[in-house]
């Protein structure tokens, strides 16, 4: 029974070899050695034809067991080594997830634009639409048609940059009111964002700053509507917990006029440096559009009434973000811009 011994010998030998295999390559070598085309087991199977008829079933069975047993062991070992190798490979591929991210960091929108967008969105939601007007204006639109004739003391409040006697840099966004009403018949509901210019500069004043103007003209618009609209607006921007108050003021182009204050968002009305201990912050100027203004644009003030309001965007941004120097907005220091 040479053959039977041979089978036994191969079985033992291959078992040891398979067990001691270190890598999937080793296993492949072993597989070829025993089960390949010229493999030792394959050779034995091939030699089965020379075995005597009576021995054939027995030897055949033994050979089959050897072949399938080896195949099974190879497969098992291969799986085992594969898993180990894969995990070793993955281990070697570990990265430092704390390294800085790739690609450029997103840029930032300027805090003035952010604030303007926020304010615009509130009014757009109420049905107002955006109109822009020229920065360079005529005396007529900036003053005259807004009921501020020459020598009017209200001109003192506007330190004006002039280009010529009649051409100037607008001191407020209000001239756009006139431009819109000259073109459109009521109802109109418009907001006007834009740059304005005043010839004075210090920590709270910049020669260039931004305003947002708004106005609504239709039949039956009242001072109560003005209060409702602006209270809603201030609550949207500063939060509902802050009280809003309207107190009489003076603007040549509105009558009655109001200054609109919101309870100081820094001290909640207790009084602090920001609100000069009054507990209130002046945010908006507003009022019912003066009949004289309607006269200039050809509206019938008996039929139509309307309100207008205006606000300084820098002021709102300063309050919202706690900025104490208006010049920061125009210096554009990246360390400043990056914060918004």
């Amino acid at each position: 029974m040479v053959l039977e011994e041979k089978i036994k010998e191969i079985a033992e030998k291959s078992k040891i070899e398979i067990e001691s295999a270190k890598s999937t390559q080793d296993i492949e070598q072993i597989r070829i050695k025993y089960l390949g085309r010229k493999g030792e087991i394959t050779e034995l199977v091939r030699g089965l034809k020379d075995v005597s008829k009576e021995d054939k079933p027995k030897v055949g069975k033994l050979l089959n067991e050897l072949k399938s047993g080896t195949e099974e062991s190879v497969k098992k070992k291969l799986e085992e080594l594969g898993t180990r190798e894969k995990s070793r490979k993955l281990e070697s591929e570990i990265i430092d997830v704390t390294l800085p991210a790739k690609g450029i960091e997103r840029g930032k929108i300027h805090p003035i634009t952010k604030t303007l967008e926020e304010v615009k969105d509130v009014f757009k939601g109420l049905g107002y639409y955006v109109v822009e007007g020229p920065d360079v204006e005529t005396d007529y639109y900036n003053f005259e048609a807004l009921n501020i004739p020459k020598d009017h003391p209200a001109r003192d409040m506007h330190d004006t940059f002039y280009i010529s006697k009649d051409i100037l840099l607008r001191t407020h966004t209000s001239p756009v009111q006139i431009r819109v009403m000259e073109k459109e018949k009521p109802p109109v509901a418009v907001i006007v964002p834009g740059k304005v210019y005043r010839r004075d500069a210090d920590i709270t004043h910049s020669a260039v700053f931004h305003q947002l103007e708004g106005f609504l003209v239709d039949e039956g618009i009242t001072f109560g509507d003005l209060k409702g609209t602006l209270t809603y607006f201030l609550h949207e921007v500063f939060g509902k917990i802050h009280r809003v108050r309207f107190r009489p003021s003076y603007f040549p182009f509105t009558e009655p006029s109001a200054e609109v204050d919101v309870e100081c968002i820094i001290c909640n009305g207790r009084g602090c440096r920001i609100c000069s201990n009054t507990g209130w912050l002046e945010i908006l100027g507003a009022g019912m559009i003066d009949p004289n203004v309607f006269k200039y644009v050809g509206y019938d003030s008996e039929k139509h009434t309307g309100f207008a309001f205006g606000m300084g965007i820098e002021r709102i941004a300063m309050l919202k973000y706690g900025i104490d120097d208006i010049r920061l907005f125009f210096e554009n220091d990246m360390r400043f811009l990056r914060q918004f």
Binding site: G103, Y129, D151, I163, R199, F223, Y250, P291
Partner: protein
Amino acid sequence: MRVPLEWLKEYVDVKLSPEELAKRLTMSGIEVSSIEFHGKKVEGVVAGKIKAIERHIRRPDLFVCQIDIGRKIIQVVTDAPNLRVGDKVPVALHGAKLVKDIRVKRMELHGVESFGMLCKAHELGVSEAQGILILGFEALPGEDIRKVLGMGGYVFEIDILPNRPDCLSIIGIGREVAALTSKKLEHPVFKLKEEGKKIKKLANVTVRENTLCPRYMARVIEDIEIGESPQWLKERIIACGLRPVNNIVDVTNYVLMEIGQPLHAFDLNLLRGREIIVRRARPKEKIITIDDVERELSGENLVIADSERPIAIAGVMGGKDTEVNPGTRTILLESAYFEPFCVNRTSKALKLRTESSIRFARGVDLEGVAKALDRAAYLISKTSGGKISRGALDIKVKERKPKVLTLRKERVNKILGTDLGSQEMVSILKKLDFKVSKGKEIKVEVPLFRANDIVREIDLIEEIARVHGYEKIKESMPHIRLKEEKENLLDLLKEKIRKILVGHGLSEVTTFSMIGLKEFDKLGIPKNDELRSLIPLANPLSENEGVLRTTLIPSLLQVLSHNIRRQIKDIAVFEIDKTFIKSGENLPKEKAMLACALTGDTGFAWQKGKEEKFDFYYIKRIIEDLAIELRSPIKIEKATHSAFHPGKCAKITFDNHNIGFMGEIHPDTQKAYDLPQSVYLIEMEIEPLVKYVKEKPLYKALPKFPSVERDLALIVPEGLTHENVLSAIKEAGGDLIEDVRLFDRYKGKPIPEGHLSLAFSITYRDPHKTLTDTEVNARHNEIADTLIKKLNVQIRK
């Protein structure tokens, strides 16, 4: 304006606390910006009664006093020799504050403890007198010294709106307080005693400019003695923020504050010809005003003159030559009405704002002229012992009649959104001294002190709203009904552009619209370039902000240099704003522009690679993304521009129009702005892009058949651009080409000198069937052959 509460109380009975009163005033449009306690500097000083005095054991020049300060008896050491038991004195307690910020502390003086300090008058700021101040017998031990001496009191700082000159006086504020609290306003009562000569014998007044000076009044007071004003008068004008001068000037200031009518006193004996002429100044006429400044006048200015020379600038300031001086015996007191616009112009032209010019420029009370004159004459006679001559000189054009307005109840409620009854309206107006008659309509007579402010029904409505209280008007939400939906496309476009740029790492900046002329030299803009067609400001704040910008680039370069100076080297910024293009004498054309400036690293520095620095192709990506996102056919073509590097500049075209430039900064410009590293710039108009901003993408079906990719490597002469080769490939490939992409560009060995290697990956696809290898190969070879023939390239195997 400063309003001492004690003074105010002389005319109206105020029962409210200062805080409550301030709130009421503010809510009616008379804004109290601060409440101050006058005499605030002195704190912690009380009246004390001396119980016992002993000499100091070790220092005989010092005295140890036991002082009753109400709650207890304290020991104080003093050097004052004149004190007696029973005297009442001011005692500064430990921690007290005196004028000049002196602080009092408990201390030991040669072994004896002193728990405070006895005060001299000047230490309390009461007078210059030396020696311990002895208080009157009525002072109670422990009482606050400010109360004892009447040196304290609340002072309101009030911001008066420009339309309310009537409130620029204590009585004016008093009227408002009376109306708000439903009290009666009590005017000062006095009796004028005239004596001596008739005024006409003493002086003469001629008004040559009746329209500019519709009323001029004068009184003469003789035998006056110039001296210090009484304490009460000084205290009041000090509380108002004015400086006491003498008993004549102080009275004119007192009446100015009390009634709001500016007055002026001349030394009559110094008036040449003893006359007053109100006339326009002669061209270049000069006057030295009481502030010792010589001022040159013009025909625009109204002056008060004597027979020879101007002696005052009407309504603004008096002249030095004729001012009241220690030797003055006779004065001429002026009270007048000067036209607001005239005083306003003069005050502006001379850059001289005074208490007087502020009031005249806004309009004083025409009726107050006579009242104030008499009031001042009366007070002067009281304080200086002078005799008021008989009669007053009074030149007036004609009486101004009060205006009568009609008020409609419905109109009031329509404007305010209220439901007020006519009785409420009438009552409010009456409280404000309007005369109201109620028939079928409400007729309202406007008092002259409101003549400039209240001229229409709407002005009355404001008064009603104001006194009724804005806070009582109910809020409502208007229903906005517009004919059509309107959208501002430019605004929408800007918003989209911002979003795209932020995604590329650019931050938005905001800069001034005015720049300096020298920026154009720094940019190297040629002398006759359109960008130099500038609009200068007539009154710029500085030369650096002298013209309106025609380009945003200089502002951005300034932003870069500002940051670089602060060690920030990697910067990518953009701005969207207008530039101003001159258009003859008309308003300039305002163009909406976008500008970008990038310098340094992209911020990804630890993996060294090509993309690390900003470069031309980085900003090209930005423009191309704008084109894609905005669905705008934007093209980039080689060009030159004086501010850009001549080899690294392109123009941006849109619908065949040049709308801007992009590229690397010219080394000269970089140097001019002192920038240590190269900068990449974009500047373009954005308004043309508005056209496509609402364009919506239209879906195309996805391909049904697979694509095939083939690479094509070429050796091309260096003069050939990528675009040349690309379009040749596309042309030769025809409709089978879906996409062509450059994946490698190489220069150097083994590529021959003067040549480049370009490698493209070409995607073929037939929308109607699956392409066979044979078809693709045939087309690919065709392309190669065409390129060899047409462009003189070699195929790299």
